[in-house]
């Protein structure tokens, strides 16, 4: 329980809250990137270097940009007149709160059984690579296929239909 952790946790929380609360959608996206960055640093704090950098590369570098593009393409950057929250926001909030309550409860329930801080494991990228192509090769392939399919699918779904084209 050191200072770094608290700072990072605070940063992440702030980013997440901002992403969910701000009115301007682009601000939300930027706040989201802050949250992502905070998470990446949390990973680093957990000695998961590779995961941290991957998180940074993928989320900050790609997903955030994607979100921003989507926002601009859907003219979502200007804030709508009638509020940014849906009519049933209260119910939603309640449900979320309930979920948090349950999760927190379960965690606190099992605090006693959680393992204490172990010494930092040293994993090199090489080990990860070996694991990826030896023990986790099947998931790796599946993810590769999934990504390809997702790529093509996204392109097709978002593709600009010419007149007389599909639909």
């Amino acid at each position: 329980m050191n200072l770094v952790f608290y700072l990072l946790a605070a940063l992440t929380m702030a980013g997440g809250l901002a992403a969910m609360l701000l009115k301007n959608t682009v601000h939300c996206a930027l706040a989201l990137t802050v949250a992502f960055a905070g998470l990446a640093m949390l990973y680093l704090d957990l000695d998961a270097q590779f995961a941290g950098f991957a998180q940074l590369l993928i989320y900050v570098g790609a997903v955030a940009i994607l979100v921003v593009f989507a926002i601009l393409l859907t003219k979502g950057s200007e804030t709508p007149k009638d509020g940014v929250f849906s009519r049933t926001w209260l119910a939603g909030l309640a449900v979320a709160a309930a979920v948090f309550a349950v999760l927190a409860w379960s965690i606190l329930q099992s605090v006693s059984r959680l393992s204490q801080a172990a010494q930092a494991p040293t994993v090199t990228v090489q080990q990860i690579g070996m694991a990826l192509i030896s023990r986790y090769v099947l998931p790796l392939e599946i993810v590769a296929v999934l990504l390809t399919v997702a790529l093509i699918g996204a392109v097709i779904v978002a593709m600009h239909e010419k007149e007389g084209g599909a639909q």
């Binding site: 601000h27 940074l56 900050v60 570098g61 940009i65 593009f69 859907t74 990228v125």
Partner: protein, 391 residues
């Protein structure tokens, strides 16, 4: 003697931190290195602006800056003073916070990239195991800064420039990664120091730089293209194509913030050149075995400056591409070549030593190059560009 010359900066660092208590030493050394980097590269940036203006002047058959100081050497300082003293204008309708944050994020992320670059023997700030990955993560973050700048200043030129820049950077980031992956495949490590070490050996007095292999050459060429695009240098400088959209995403910036953008751009150029040098040109290793006595950092920076000169040269020579041409080039020519290059590298890896792998790999690459190029030429991608909005 040679040793000291080579390790002079390292020794200096140790001497400095030796005054501090052992607890603070790692932190202090890190801070000192960072400080050194942050001080050195702006200076190099100043020099480079002068160099570039001179060089462009020569290329365009005119004298460059020649009033301030000998050969106008002091011109950058004059510019610096000017930009520091100018008024910092923030447009009325701009998104002040983001508008303020953008240049900072840009510069910070760009500088972070240097952390993993080995600039000489033992001269690396943080020798991360996943150094390359870190570098790319940082590089990816700069796009966000560009977008922030473009979007926050509520100016259609800025926005267009930013969108162009982001699109371009995303496309070419893929190429950048894929063309670097081949090096990782061969050297078997993401750590840049290890990569350099892998290239630091000689046969018949010649170094084992990766550029001296078929896949390495191809990879380097594509890396160079991608790097040019990543740094928005001409011929890929559409984002700030002054003839089209006044100055791209930093149209609405003035004074020191503008200077920061300018700085960030050049420093990015330095860092990516450094990366290229490290990956393909053997980093700080000497080009010939009998030159190994020359201090490693000299080699690194001379290679760096060489590539900088190439950048300038390109800018002086090539005309600007068009947006759709740019995209087609990235996705339809460079990307396939990159993927093929991966395959070839695998072949290289498994064909074992001997002349065979040279023949096979070069043949495949050449054939593919000619084939794809011809195919691309046949279906003309230069045509009326089509605008696609999601209205």
């Amino acid at each position: 003697m040679i040793e000291t010359a080579d390790q002079i900066f390292v020794l200096l660092l140790h001497w400095l931190v030796s005054f501090l208590p052992a607890v603070l030493q790692p932190v202090a050394s890190a801070v000192l290195c960072a400080a050194a980097i942050v001080c050195f590269f702006p200076a190099l940036f100043a020099l480079t602006t002068w160099l570039e203006r001179k060089g462009l002047g020569r290329i365009q058959n005119r004298l460059g800056p020649n009033r301030v100081g000998p050969f106008g050497l002091l011109q950058p300082i004059a510019d610096g003073i000017k930009s520091l003293t100018k008024e910092d204008i923030v447009p009325f309708s701009a998104d002040a916070a983001v508008h303020f944050l953008a240049p900072i994020v840009l510069v910070v992320t760009v500088f972070m990239g240097f952390a993993v670059l080995p600039m000489g023997r033992n001269m690396v700030l943080a020798d991360l195991d996943a150094g390359l990955l870190f570098y790319f993560a940082m590089g990816a973050s700069t796009e966000l800064a560009v977008f922030m700048a473009g979007w926050s200043s509520r100016n259609k030129y800025s926005l267009l420039g930013a969108m162009r820049a982001v699109a371009q950077m995303i496309s070419y980031e893929v190429v950048l990664l894929l063309s670097s992956v081949v090096v990782v495949m061969i050297s078997g490590s993401l750590s840049l120091t290890k990569i350099v070490a892998a290239q630091n050996q000689y046969t018949w007095g010649l170094p084992h730089w990766y550029i001296f292999t078929p896949w390495g050459l191809a990879g380097f060429v594509m890396f160079a293209i991608a790097a040019t695009a990543e740094t928005n240098r001409s011929p890929f400088d559409l984002p700030e194509g002054e003839s089209e959209l006044v100055a791209g995403y930093h149209t609405e910036y003035s004074g020191f913030k503008f200077a920061l953008f300018f700085l960030g751009e050049y420093v990015a150029m330095f860092s990516i050149s450094g990366l290229g040098t490290t990956l393909f040109l053997g980093g700080w290793t000497a080009p010939f075995s009998f030159l190994t006595w020359v201090p490693s950092w000299i080699w690194f920076f001379s290679k760096l400056m060489l590539s900088i000169f190439v950048f300038i040269w390109l800018r002086g020579t090539l005309p600007r591409l068009r947006q759709d041409q740019l995209m087609n080039f990235a996705w339809k020519f460079v990307l396939p070549m990159c993927l093929l290059n991966l395959l070839v590298t695998g072949l290289w890896r498994f064909l074992g030593d001997g002349w065979l792998r040279w023949v096979v790999c070069s043949a495949i690459l050449l054939l593919a190059y000619v084939g794809i190029a011809l195919g691309e030429q046949r279906k003309k991608h230069i045509g009326p560009r089509s605008y696609r909005y999601a209205e």
